[in-house]
Amino acid sequence: MSENEKKKVLVIDDVEENADIVRVKLKHEGYNVLVAMDGESGVELARAEIPDLILCDIMLPRMDGWEVLETLRRDSATAAIPVIFMTAYTTIQFSGERKRAQDLGAVDYLKKPFDLSEMTALVKKHTGD
């Protein structure tokens, strides 16, 4: 499979190791992985590359995950890209926040630390593989 045929996944996480783990695993699974270390450059990269899927942390420098999502949704070029939130919350108990994420168009969430196979399954589901 050539680089052009591979599905593109953008990972936005300010913790280098987290981004690295996801990158290695997804690359191994046959994805073309792009990494951004903060919200702003994440949005820039998304606009430039139009990835098939974005995995986004919520607590990010410069622009947090919520703002990244809002910004992407406002731009017609990036509005349709599915976004999966990665967060370190323990349990999603408050339906309001989950609803907010859904309203903004987040397609799913991953609870950190997450199981790599669970992450891969979610990525496959939302990239249509």
């Binding site: 987290n18 919350y89 349990t91 408050f94 926040e97």
Partner: protein
């Protein structure tokens, strides 16, 4: 109609009457004797004397007669006058002290206690006046004492009121401090938990990558070691989660999501997910699900968490045999019981009591062999209590233990949460924000910013009616301007925070006046300067939604 006569008139009439009656009787007697005498003389003169002498004498007699009557008249007149004066004097000497007494009594009755009678008379009236004065003095003294006591009492009441007000202020500020301390604790735990999870994420992630063989095939000892790394990292993660859950329950910040579910199905799906762990330990895992169980309304996730904790406990302590999970309803079908029965070592009766305490395992040696900080059962108890159920244990050393907990079939809201009322969306599905600002255009701007984010904005331009509007609408949050005509925002804020009905509602100041210190000291949730930063305001309002879960990350 009876004629009412004063004492003066009575004494006067009595004295005058008594003195004048004998006087008139005496006068009448004297007149009669004198008339007899004159008649005798006239007779003698007429019969004895010559006509000339008789005429002459008769003339004299007529003169004497005339003079005698005149004299009599004057004597009577003078007597009457003297008697009248005497009566007048006497009656006055009686009536004037009585009048004075009457006068003085009237003054006293009016509360003028300083009146005194002249007590210079030596008679009974003098004594009476003396007694009266003494009584008046006593009254006056009593009155003064009373007034002094009253003033003292008022002063003491004022002092107590001041003390109470002071105590109230202190109480309120210490309550605020406790609330703040609790908030800081939760924030701290959330931060610590985030900080702990971040490196754990890297440990688990890289371990997984290596176990997956992404970095190349590994030898058996390496695989085994890495598996141990992973297992320990997982148990560390569980511990962090338990601690966070415990602290959340303790802080009253664990919220419940109620749903209806079949308890039998819950047990089946729970057993399915732990089956591999039991198989690995070569333990049998059985389910004993009663027929016809009622549908339960509760927080399914929390029930499952409690059951998992008991299962993981049973797995940890049982080395041979098996574990049975029973689920059944009590006779009245009010509660459903979940019971986990193991064939482990059992627990001595003396140690059963403290088994649900935090950080306590049955003895130090077990801690070493089975590991763990002993939070599972403590968390289990807290969860069950939160669900309004009960938990207990029965055990026989050498034979095994049976842990069981109940949950009510119909949800009872015991773990009522602070701000739940406001955090939950209104029946219409929207959370209301009451916006107070005298400028209608500011309110329009606020509404235009907040409504797309899912808030309903109630506009209030009348500061004087603001507090009333808050009580009426019981909003999710309030935004408040400071500079408003007729009533400023500080006074509105003060009243809102003083009323228990409204004091919990978060207030965000939105003003051009920058006096954050004053705002925060008065209990505002946030202080924002105009022009409004839309994103910041929405973010802050969202944070009131009570969910700390996402804030850990934000």
């Amino acid at each position: 109609m009876r004629l009412r006569l004063g004492i003066f008139t009575k004494i006067f009439l009595a004295v005058a009457g008594l003195a004048l009656v004998p006087l008139f009787i005496g006068a009448a007697l004297i007149t009669s004797i004198y008339q007899d005498l004159v008649d005798q003389i006239v007779y003698d003169v007429v019969h004895v004397a010559s006509p000339a002498t008789a005429n002459h004498l008769m003339g004299h007699i007529a003169d004497v007669h005339q003079n005698a009557y005149t004299l009599m008249f004057f004597i009577l007149l003078i007597s009457i006058l003297l008697v009248s004066f005497a009566a007048l004097y006497l009656s006055r000497s009686f009536s004037s002290p009585i009048r004075a007494l009457l006068d003085a009594s009237r003054h006293i009755a009016r509360g003028e206690l300083d009146v005194r009678l002249s007590a210079d008379r030596s008679d009974e009236f003098g004594l009476l006046a003396g007694e009266f004065n003494a009584m008046a003095s006593q009254l006056e003294e009593a009155q003064e004492n009373l007034e002094r006591d009253n003033i003292d009492l008022e002063r003491r009441v004022a002092e107590r009121t001041a003390e109470l007000t002071m105590a109230n202020v202190e109480l309120r500020s210490s309550a605020a401090q406790i609330q703040e301390a609790n908030r800081l604790k939760s924030e701290f735990l959330a931060n610590v938990s985030h900080e702990l999870r971040t490196p754990l994420n890297a440990i688990l992630g890289y371990t997984d990558l290596m176990l997956d063989g992404i970095y190349g095939e590994m030898q058996k000892p390496q695989l085994e070691s890495l598996t141990k790394v992973r297992r320990n990292a997982e148990s560390l993660l569980r511990l962090i989660n338990d601690i966070l859950d415990l602290s959340k329950i303790e802080a009253g910040r664990m919220s419940l999501t109620l749903e209806k579910f079949d308890p039998g199905e819950l047990v089946r799906s729970s057993l399915e997910s732990v089956q591999p762990l039991f198989a690995r330990s070569r333990l049998e895992l059985r389910a004993d699900i009663a027929d016809g169980l009622p549908t339960v309304e509760a927080d399914r996730g929390k029930v499952q968490q409690a059951l998992y904790n008991l299962l993981s406990n049973a797995l940890k302590f049982t080395s041979a045999g098996g574990v049975t999970v029973r689920v059944y309803a009590d006779e009245k079908r009010v509660n459903v019981w979940f019971e986990v029965i193991d064939t482990g070592p059992g627990i001595e009766a003396a140690k059963l009591r403290s088994i649900f305490d935090q950080f306590r395992q049955i003895d130090g040696s077990t801690t070493r062999t089975v590991g763990g900080a002993g939070l599972g059962l403590a968390l289990c108890k807290k969860l069950v209590n939160l669900l309004n159920g009960t938990i207990d244990v029965s055990s026989e050393p050498g034979k095994g233990s049976a842990f069981r907990f109940s949950i009510p079939v119909v949800a009872a809201t015991k773990g009522a949460l602070p701000r739940q009322r406001q955090a939950e969306a209104a029946p219409g599905g929207k959370r209301t924000v009451l916006a107070i600002d005298d400028a209608a255009e500011v309110l329009e701007l606020l509404a235009a910013s907040l409504e797309p984010a899912g808030f309903e904005v109630i506009r209030c331009t009348d500061a004087e009616r603001a507090v009333e509007r808050v009580r009426e609408t019981n909003p999710f949050a309030v935004t408040l301007d400071i500079m408003m005509p007729y009533r400023d925002g500080w006074s509105v804020l003060k009243e809102l925070k003083a009323d228990p009905q409204t004091s919990d509602i978060p207030v965000i100041i939105v003003s051009i006046i920058d006096d954050r210190a004053r705002g925060y000291s008065m209990g505002v949730a946030d202080y924002m300067l105009k022009p409004i930063n839309r994103a910041q305001l929405i973010k802050r309002l969202e944070s009131f939604a009570g969910g700390d879960e996402w804030r850990e990350d934000a």
